[in-house]
């Protein structure tokens, strides 16, 4: 096993990987930009090195600086997490050239899957089912022909794309030209590659993905599916495992195709094969993500496996410790991605200081967090604060448990999307698992029904009590504390219970 692993990432995923390293007796090395000096992943790691200014391009995407840090501390492997350099083949190559193991697939597998068109060609040879459309980049003229042939509505997608960037829906021929050009320029901006292609639109599809895992000795397994249909602007918001829509038979068929896909790419380590599934349970290959997914915990909870431990073992040359037949699913898991964004204000990011943090816990509750009370969430990166994941015997209980956990969760000082999850989890369609990739946009289009509250008076009285204590009149100010003293003691409140308690002594 490795002696020392550098984590080329930040936030909750860096912390999660550091935890795995500690559990495997590997010393962990964090890297950080100037605004992340006090970040949780830095304080949790055994070692930490600065890699440049706030902008990701100058730090977390800065390959020379990261490799320099790795050489300096003598790391024998690098885990890229997700995002940033995780799917960058050049980085993977640079690592192996530097004699440092890149924890993930080979650069060539990443390159193959990185180009949607090349991937499609390879997968078609392997007999993988596809959404009807063009297998390669198109000119506007070609696109017009293909669209006419497969029939509208169609989707335009960026070849180098991902996360919805460079994607456009085209309902009719006259919309094609503007959408095509918009997609091209967006793709150019996002990926420095304007190539786009075209696909038939699947009506109300589900986004369901299969987790695969391969060692470096030719063994490949699939670990069941994840239901990722709850998306906002093609960004996943809630994920589940298993999918209420997938039965044993479909799971096996999708799993076997996913393994074929991985085989065709000579894939190693953890990867995810994404499918569109239509209402008749036909499934179509979308793309393969050649990294650990944000939503990997739901798979961990239902399989009882630790994917990051397995990534490290596989990269260290170990064989998979189990066979496909050993993989059993237990219960149901749901993940909510907690973002610093304001759902009441068109999801604008809300960086800033976390003034109070109350975290849920108890039965079946897992929190993978990258923040702490008193920390200032920087403006510079993706606003994912933490992932709240629950595990329960069945889906209905998992939903109830997530609601309970959300009620225990409080993040003060910044806005978060916690209230959005409550709306989703209470929505009859979600509860009935009637979800497709359009579900959340439909939900958001409808104004949240404001319930009349019974607690107005309690709120009013409480506000007055806070004010009374905050006002100088009663001496002292709420929030000031004598040295070392915790809040309750120094606040102006007479805690009736305690006062009486003493009297009884």
């Amino acid at each position: 096993m490795f002696k020392k692993v550098l984590i080329a990432n930040r936030g909750e995923i860096a912390v999660r990987i550091i935890r795995a390293c500690k559990e495997l007796g590997i010393s962990s090395v964090a890297v950080f930009s100037e605004v992340d000096r006090a970040a949780l992943h830095v304080t949790h790691a055994d070692e930490a090195y600065p890699i440049g200014p706030a902008p990701a391009t100058e730090s977390y995407l800065n390959i020379p600086r990261i490799l320099e840090a790795a050489r300096r501390c003598g790391a024998d492997a690098i885990h890229p997490g997700y995002g940033f350099l995780s799917e960058n083949a050049r980085f993977a190559r640079a690592c192996s050239e530097a004699g440092i193991k890149f924890i993930g697939p080979t650069a060539s597998a990443m390159e193959l899957m990185g180009s949607k068109t090349r991937a499609r060609q390879a997968m078609q040879i392997a007999g993988v089912p596809f959404v009807p459309g063009s297998a390669r980049g198109l000119s506007l003229a070609e696109a017009t022909d293909v669209a006419a042939e497969i029939g509208y509505p169609v989707m335009i997608k960026a070849s180098a794309g991902g996360g919805g960037k460079g994607m456009r829906l085209v309902r009719a021929a006259e919309e094609l030209k503007p959408a095509f050009e918009a997609a091209q320029s967006e793709a150019q901006r996002a990926f420095q590659d304007s190539e786009v292609y075209l696909e038939k639109l699947i009506a109300d599809p589900r986004h369901i993905e299969i987790q695969v895992l391969g060692d470096e000795h030719g063994n490949l397994v699939y670990l069941g599916e994840r239901e990722c249909s709850v998306q906002r602007r093609h960004q996943k918001v809630i994920e589940e495992a298993p999918s209420a829509f997938v039965d044993e038979d479909l799971r096996r068929r999708m799993g076997q195709v996913a393994v074929q896909v991985a085989k065709a790419a000579a894939y190693t380590n953890a990867g995810t094969v994404e499918f569109l599934v239509d209402q008749d349970r036909n499934f179509y290959f979308l793309e393969m993500n050649t990294r650990l997914q944000v939503e990997h915990p739901v798979t961990e909870l239902v399989t009882g496996l630790d994917l990051v431990h397995l990534q490290l073992r596989i990269a260290a040359g170990e064989k998979l410790p189990f066979r496909q037949a050993d993989v059993a699913l237990q219960g149901h898991a749901i993940e909510c991605r907690v973002y610093a964004e304001d759902p009441d204000n068109s999801f604008f990011p809300s960086p800033g200081k976390i003034t109070q943090l109350l975290r849920p816990s108890g039965p079946g509750v897992r929190e993978d967090s990258g923040v702490y009370e008193g920390w200032r969430v920087p403006l510079d990166y993706d606003p994912l604060l933490a992932k709240l994941i629950v595990h329960a015997p069945d889906r209905a209980t998992a939903i109830a448990r997530m609601r309970r956990a959300l009620d225990e969760y409080f993040v003060g000082g910044i806005k978060t999307n916690l209230s959005l999850f409550r709306r989703i989890l209470e929505h009859p369609d979600f509860v009935a698992a009637r979800i497709d990739t359009g579900f959340l946009d439909r939900l958001l289009a409808a104004p949240p029904r404001a319930r009349a509250s019974a607690n107005g008076e309690v709120a009013a009285v409480s506000a007055a009590l806070f004010a009374a204590v905050a006002s100088g009149e009663t001496g002292g100010r709420n929030g000031t504390r004598p040295e070392g003293a915790p809040p309750a003691s120094s606040s102006q409140w007479k805690t009736a219970g305690r006062a009486e308690g003493r009297r009884t002594k």
Binding site: A340, D342, N345, F348, P349, S350, P351, G352, T355, Q356, L379, D380, Y381, D382, P383, L406, D407, F410, G412, G413, K415, S419, R422, S453, N455, G456, E457, V458, A459, A460, V461, S462, A463, A464, L465, F466, A467, A468, S471, E473, T474, N478, G479, R481, P486, P487, A488, S491, Q492, W493, K494, T495, A496, G497, A499, E500
Partner: protein, 165 residues
């Protein structure tokens, strides 16, 4: 001590006074029997006729909120005897309307320079945070009376960026 408390547009007159170890409260003249204990900073346990409420207060530059369970109430507390009164930044008010930053960020572009006319809903300036752009619109027809920031400025949530009269 009597406060004028506004919760979700509804105004209450709340009287609070210490009584022994606890507090004595009246709301709109009515007795309000409660037992209250501080838990942590900005956090109370309030019991009313056996019902148990965990109540949190959150104050940002932009607003003060009271949180009870999953409910969040915008709150304004005015002490009639003093001028110190917290008002929600986006609350109603006479005279010129203010445009405040909904989040910390950087002023990317000024769309309407000071002195120019604007219509309600027209973008006045754009701020950016976490790679997302946020166009701030004019709350009313009128004229941009004042711009407190220039392009490139870093702003805090709740900071008043411009006034429209």
């Amino acid at each position: 001590m009597i406060y004028e408390v506004t919760i979700n547009e509804r105004i209450y007159s709340v009287e609070v006074a210490r009584s022994g170890p606890g507090w004595h409260c009246r709301i709109d003249g009515r007795e309000f029997p409660l037992d209250v204990v501080a838990l942590q900073n900005n956090m109370l346990s309030v019991q009313v006729r056996g019902k148990s409420y965990e109540v949190k207060q959150e104050s940002t530059a932009a607003e003060t909120s009271i949180i009870i369970g999953r409910e969040r109430f915008g709150a304004t507390v005015r002490d009639p005897r003093s001028l110190r009164s917290r008002r929600r930044a986006n609350g109603a008010g006479a005279g010129p309307k203010r445009i405040t930053a909904p989040m910390p960020g950087k002023v990317l572009r000024i769309l309407v320079p000071a002195g120019n006319a604007v219509q309600a809903g027209q973008g006045v300036l754009v701020i950016e945070a976490m790679k997302m752009q946020n166009e701030l619109k004019s709350p009313k027809d009128g004229r941009v009376k004042k711009l407190n920031v220039g392009e490139g400025a870093l702003v805090e949530a709740g900071q008043v960026l411009a006034e429209v009269e």
